[in-house]
């Protein structure tokens, strides 16, 4: 790992000041992706600004028809939260399946979505639930947040403070996990809302994306069988030693059905 200067501000204002003052500064959340990348010397920063002491960013609550989760809330806390389990049980299931227990003790929702790993779990919930990402500068719609491979709409000096999830009628998450990395080879988040069904796919493309054909079919009939006639074009999907594009295309439909079944079981 290349060396850097470490900072641990205690307020959001200090964090913004620090990360804006240095052109090669990077925000550190749980570090479950950033630290391994630094250890492999895939990245180099002059300064790391650790957000762990900014207590205002941690914790969650329900406000009317939405669930608000602070950016520095750890996966283990989301998975174990009674508030989350009541409001959006699929989100607790998703958080409880990220990495392993030790990773969930440190990884955060804000870090996960800011990193925008194409195989990460959380992005599918942000897109699938039509969440809003709140930053120190503005509110970003889930549909506009993920812009590409490890790319988001976040600007320099912009810090995610919370994610607002509208509470759906029901939702489900199902993933085909890579047994070693525990990332999603394919992960599907399905949500039935008053505004219609949303289906988001992670792990299969360069970034999380919506599955329009499945949404249309599920709007007509919200059941696994509604997806029987749906197929996915493998062209453009990820293909690697773990799963070919064709395999992922097939798995998208299989796991979308499982996500629907899971949503209906609650």
């Amino acid at each position: 790992m290349y060396d850097f200067t470490y900072h641990r501000p205690e307020s959001l204002a200090q964090a913004i000041e620090l990360v804006s003052a240095k052109c090669e500064a990077k925000l550190l959340a749980g570090g479950m992706s950033l630290l391994p990348a630094l250890k492999l010397r895939l990245a180099r920063y002059s300064d790391l600004v650790d957000l762990k002491a900014v207590s205002a960013l941690e914790g969650g609550r329900r406000e009317g028809d939405k669930l608000i989760i602070g950016a520095m809330t750890k996966h283990a806390a989301v998975a174990a939260s009674e508030v989350v389990r009541q409001a959006i049980p699929a989100l607790a299931v998703l958080a409880g399946g990220i990495g392993d227990p030790l990773v969930r003790n440190r990884g955060t929702i804000g870090g996960s979505i800011a990193n925008a790993d194409p195989a990460a779990d959380y992005p599918s919930s942000v897109l699938g639930l039509g969440a809003t990402v709140i930053t120190n500068k503005r509110q970003i719609a889930g549909d506009e947040f993920f812009t590409g491979l490890f790319e988001t709409a976040l600007q320099a000096g912009e810090i995610i403070t919370a994610v607002h999830f509208p509470i759906p009628l029901c939702a489900g998450y199902a993933k085909l996990l890579h047994p070693a990395s525990r990332f999603a080879l394919v992960g599907i988040f399905v949500a039935k809302t008053n505004a219609g069904v949303r289906v988001a796919v992670t792990g299969a493309g360069s970034s999380v994306f919506r599955f329009a054909d499945a949404e249309e079919a599920l709007n007509a009939d919200f059941s696994p069988a509604a997806l029987d006639q749906i197929s996915v074009d493998a062209d453009g999907l990820n293909s690697d030693i773990h799963a070919s594009a064709e395999y992922r295309a097939h798995a998208i439909v299989v796991f979308a059905k499982r996500a629907v079944a899971s949503a209906l079981s609650r």
Binding site: M1, Y2, D3, F4, T5, Y6, R8, L28, G31, M32, L35, P36, L38, K39, L48, D50, K52, A76, A80, G99, D100, P101, L102, V103, N105, R106, A180, S181, R182
Partner: protein, 195 residues
């Protein structure tokens, strides 16, 4: 010539400065800081004792424990956050110390495998690993035990095999000695129940 350890000897041969624990007084530290001649000083309570050292920003928690404090019970297996051999407890929660910056835990309370036993008496989870022979080569054992204790914190004392296997996702045994590890955790979790 003073006796030096293998690690210090190796460090000298390779031209590295020797790792040292920080013995400077607060006044000396302040003077160093004022002169701009300093690396971050990290202080944490490790196994009940306050320990401080001057580290680099990039020094990992596991390096701090092993190379600075010579607590070598915490192992580095994969060094890529997969295997869990480096698991320690920080403020009561199990984490992988190979994927943690020492400076980030300034002020924290850390427990390593060396800090579990009470005098001569092993921690109930250590005792359970001993009685069930929950190991083959033993390399993963410190991490397994630290993880197992955290599992009890999260999931309680009555653990079934399925739960134990799922909750051990973050710890790998390359000998594949899971059978007895699972038995040991089940019995250790029950033995940890307050009487």
């Amino acid at each position: 010539m003073p006796l030096i350890g293998r690690r210090s000897w190796a460090a000298r041969q390779l031209g590295f400065s020797e790792f040292r624990e920080d013995t400077a007084s607060p006044l000396e530290r302040a003077a160093n800081v004022a002169q701009g001649m300093h690396m971050p000083i990290v202080s944490m309570t490790v196994n009940g004792a306050l320990r401080s050292a001057e580290v680099e920003g990039r020094t990992l928690l596991v390096q701090f424990l092993r190379d600075y404090l010579h607590l070598t019970g915490t192992h580095v297996g994969c060094d890529t956050s997969q295997c869990g051999a480096c698991t320690v407890h920080v403020d009561g929660v199990a984490i992988k110390s190979c994927t943690a910056l020492a400076v980030a835990f300034d002020g924290a309370v850390v427990t390593t495998i060396e800090g579990l036993q009470d005098g001569e008496r092993l921690h109930p989870m250590q005792q359970a690993f001993h009685e069930n022979h929950g190991l083959q080569c033993g390399f993963c054992t410190p991490g397994m035990i630290m993880s197992a204790i955290d599992m009890v914190r999260r999931c309680g004392h009555d653990l079934d095999e399925h739960t134990i296997r799922r909750q051990l996702d973050g710890n790998l045994c390359r000998c594949t000695g899971y059978h007895n590890i699972v038995l040991a955790i089940r019995s250790g979790a029950a033995a940890m129940r307050p009487r």
